[in-house]
Amino acid sequence: MKKRESRAFAVVGKSERKVDGLGLVTGRPMFVADVDLSDALVIKVLGSPHAHARITSIDTADAERMPGVACVLTHKNTPATRHTTAGQGFPEPSPYDTRMFDTKVRFVGDRVAAVAAETEEMADRALAAIRVEYEELPAVLSIDEARRPGAPIVHDEADATGIYDPSRNVAADVDIDVGDVAVGFAESDLIVETTCETQYAQHTPIETHVVLASLDVDDRLVLRTSTQVPFHVRRIVAQTLGIPIHRIRVIKPRIGGGFGVKQEVLLEDVAGWVTLQTRRPAFFTLSRAEEFTSSRTRHPMRVRVKIGVKKAGLVHAIEMEAVSNTGAYGAHGLTVLANTGSKTLPLYNKAENAHFFGQAVYTNLPVGGAYRGYGATQGYFALETAMDEAAERLGLDPIEFRLRNAIRTGEGSPIFAKLGEGREGVSQTVKSCELERCLEVGAERIGWASLRGKKERRGSWVHGVGMSIMMQGSGIPEVDMGAATLKMNEDGSFNLLVGATDLGTGSDTILAQIAAEVLGVPLAKILVTSSDTDVTPYDVGAYASSTTYVSGMAVQRAAEKVREQILGVAAPMLGVSTERLALRDESVVAEAGSSVTLARVCQRAMYETDQFQIAATASCVPSESPPPFLANFARVAVDTDTGVVKVLHYVAAVDCGVAINPRLAEGQVEGSIVNGIGYALTEEMQFSSRGRVRNPTFFDYKIPGALDIPRIDVVLVDSYEPTGPMGAKSVGEIGINGPIPTMANAIYDAVGVRLRQTPFTPERVLEALRRA
């Protein structure tokens, strides 16, 4: 069943060290804030104390007069352009409902004003001197409150566009179907319905948002920023500030994690505006508390899944209804909602009838944005819980039940065409799917057969095992574009310029590995420059699991073009036609055995004969989004005295096609699993009755630490994706979708209670045990 080129890779498939590793492990200055900031103004924001209010007056006169204050920003003196902060391709499928500074505030922590001053202390003093009068408005603090007829309207401004129904606080609405689920349910022998709810969670990158704005020697605005989307930043800042794109340069140096929260244009417009007004460099970063309250979050969701199954164990109809809380602004509201269905339902493509519908609802709470998994995480909780329930009621092993219903190589799903990123999707057929092997390997590794149903007791602890499967995607077909430029140097090395954005994921490294593979050179001969809008070609940025598959293919194509040029120069040198030449071991090698080094080839082209710069640019817009697949298994122990859930062993068997760099791929899965475990067990933003975040600190928003992780086994299963660069698919997101449903199913195996609300805190678990 494995279709794979029988070809040994020289660089691809090796766990090469990251190209930026040395600097990172020795603490070299590589991050936004690691430059001389002594001349930069410091920007601080005054956040709204109210969940919903009009600013009836704002007096900054005292603040402006204070020592060291360079400027004070409010709605009165900044551009009024409505835009979205969502870092998405143009035209962005998110409402234009945001102003840099608005006359209305819509959540506690929303921007009221900002000060740029010589020091942080002076900025803080000036903030305290700004006098604001608010007309408090009634707030909506839940999806249900917000959708009630007559509810206060979060976005009542006249100039917002792209909102589905502002009068009902509905930012986005999706409704697609295949076949007829009503008929499908009627034809089914078993119906299982479940509703699951997920909480507000935050990405907590260890480096918060940060930007340094400055003017270069030509008075162009330079934004050195911690972002996942440099090109979208450039475009949206141009739009918001009303300046041409060519007067802005965006540079992303190393960044301290993103996970989606930096797929957003949050700080750059303010910093850019301050620099343009003052001609001074401007430094703007969020405190940890502001990162929690005023950046972006996971969309809390309520997802109802109803499946109809035939006696033979075939899912015949699936209905999924998803309602998401998109918070005070609609960034990513539509697309996360759509993804909840588009990345889940195709997995069970045997269901001839499917219906996905839902809404993204505005509330006066922190703003949902892009977060690894992007809706699929929430969707799989409900879907894999329902599947687990159905398997039990049918008397089928859960693994067997999945095998009967999961999509296979060569198959498609009508959902692919119906549901894209906020618009119609793209039809596709799966060309690589090793789910069966993933399930086999995973089950064996966890000890499924010997543990399932045993409910082993140790003192007050009861053990159980659970499983789940999932798919994700590799980029957004016919929307995402990545491009790469390669140029050759006369010592046989190459500069690789990519717009693609390395968040720490190692994309610089794996893209270099792809180029090195095509060009027959070691990794050290590829010098990567990434994410500089003046220098590197366009790339959408790091999201939608696009980098390996989309940017990687652009790199492969650029390398292939460069290879052709190299062979063209070498052919007369060797007296051999190009079809008989190959690149290997830093040389052009003829079938018959003669060779010439790449250095010699480039010297000839650079200095000697028919001179030209060996270089090429290539792009990739994918026509499909081949899903990676994942089978998860977890062994948990539940303390029946206290409700504490401990994960003892977690196994993730992954099909990501060819892993360009296995260790980096493992790292992506390990990290996303641990993030998912936190999301499942301990992470929860808590709110006061007035909509204020009560725990905007690591002290009370608990993410997993080294003491909390189980034994984790990640197995990269052999696979090959024919449409992917070197056979690769992407892998950045899928891991985070596993822990919630897998652990919910494991808890059920242990103690017979189904948990349908995350996080599975000890109190919730104990309460469920007592009710049972």
Binding site: G109, R125, A128, A289, K702, G705
Partner: protein, 325 residues
């Protein structure tokens, strides 16, 4: 900590009146503001001087002369995280040479400036109740903080979630203090005293009588690096079969740990059997004063009290299967 009228707090709360204890913010959030804003800024701007007294007398005199504007500086963690608005002078205790751990007769005397790391690694402390205090300290915060936080600071600051306080309470710890004169006071008495400034703590004294007892500690936390939503410490001296001394303390209720004398009474003079332990655990759940907060509900804390006390006592009695899942 206090929020002042007219302030703007980093969490955006509109502060309209003086609030005694700002339940709105976790103490790790940062202070309230008047003029000098200090959200989460790292520098504690209002500190104007740090003095290094050469003698105890000098330290005490400085403190006594500016009670409102000065504070003793031990490890400094709590002061970096929160400085009361009027404080401008810190009196550094490091020059005073009060960090050693020593044996004094039957007592183990731990200098107030000993870090938690120093204490948990001390062989002398390890000999008291089988190293009970060391085991507890290993569960406090992270090693990074244990390398800076002092035992004296922990005893004085007495955070509501403190793991140190219940451990010291059940060990019968006393404090050597100085307020112009030297004296030794019970830990619980020291905390009940209200004079300002309170005496300078020089050492934590573990009485010789506790040496041969057995202690156990349970901490229920959300993650491994966390404060407890509840903690329990128990200590007993068991003569053949019978419990001669029993001490039980429950903390993080969310208030700081207190001993439960009614529970202790059910144990003294009794055998630590499973049934006696169950009675004690139930008694603890009945009498403990628990409340809701953002970390847990009162009801759940009551459950944890019973479980924690039972597990501690089973541990001490050698009954519990030391099961960690």
């Amino acid at each position: 900590m206090a929020c002042m009228i007219g302030a703007r707090c980093p969490s955006g709360m509109n502060v309209g009146a003086r609030v005694g204890t700002a339940a709105c913010l976790s103490p790790r959030e940062g202070t309230a503001i008047i003029g000098d804003a200090k959200g989460e800024t790292v520098a504690v701007h209002q500190i104007r001087s740090v003095v290094r007294p050469a003698t105890l007398e000098e330290a005490w005199e400085r403190r006594r002369s500016e009670p409102g504007a000065s504070r003793f500086l031990a490890g400094g963690i709590d002061l970096v995280l929160y400085v009361p608005p009027a404080v401008s002078t810190l009196i550094d205790l490091s020059p005073l040479g009060i960090e050693a751990v020593r044996q004094e007769g039957a007592d183990v005397v731990i200098g107030a400036m000993a870090t938690l790391t120093d204490v948990l690694g001390s062989p002398l402390v390890g000999e008291v109740a089988g190293g009970f205090l060391c085991d507890v300290l290993r569960r406090v915060a992270s090693p990074l903080q244990r390398n800076v936080a002092t035992l004296g600071g922990a005893a004085v600051r007495a955070h509501p979630w403190s793991d140190v306080i219940p451990a010291l309470l059940v060990l019968g710890a006393r404090l050597d203090v100085f307020d112009g004169r030297h004296s030794t006071v019970e830990l619980s008495d020291a905390r009940a005293r209200s004079e300002s400034p309170s005496p300078l703590v020089l050492a934590v004294r573990l009485p010789g009588a506790s040496r041969d007892g057995r202690g156990a500690f349970e901490k229920f936390a959300r993650t491994g690096f966390d404060v407890g939503v509840l903690n329990c410490a128990c200590f007993a001296i068991i003569e053949p079969g019978l419990c001669r001394t029993a001490r039980v303390a429950v903390g993080g209720t969310p208030s700081v740990a207190q001993r439960l004398p009614r529970v202790e009474e059910t144990l003294v003079g009794k055998t630590l059997s499973a049934s006696q332990i169950a009675l004690a655990a139930q008694a603890a759940a009945d009498v403990v004063d628990v409340r809701d907060d953002r970390r847990a509900t009162a009801e759940y804390r009551r459950v944890l009290t019973a479980v924690g006390v039972r597990r501690c006592l089973e541990n001490i009695a050698g009954l519990g299967t030391e099961v960690k899942e």
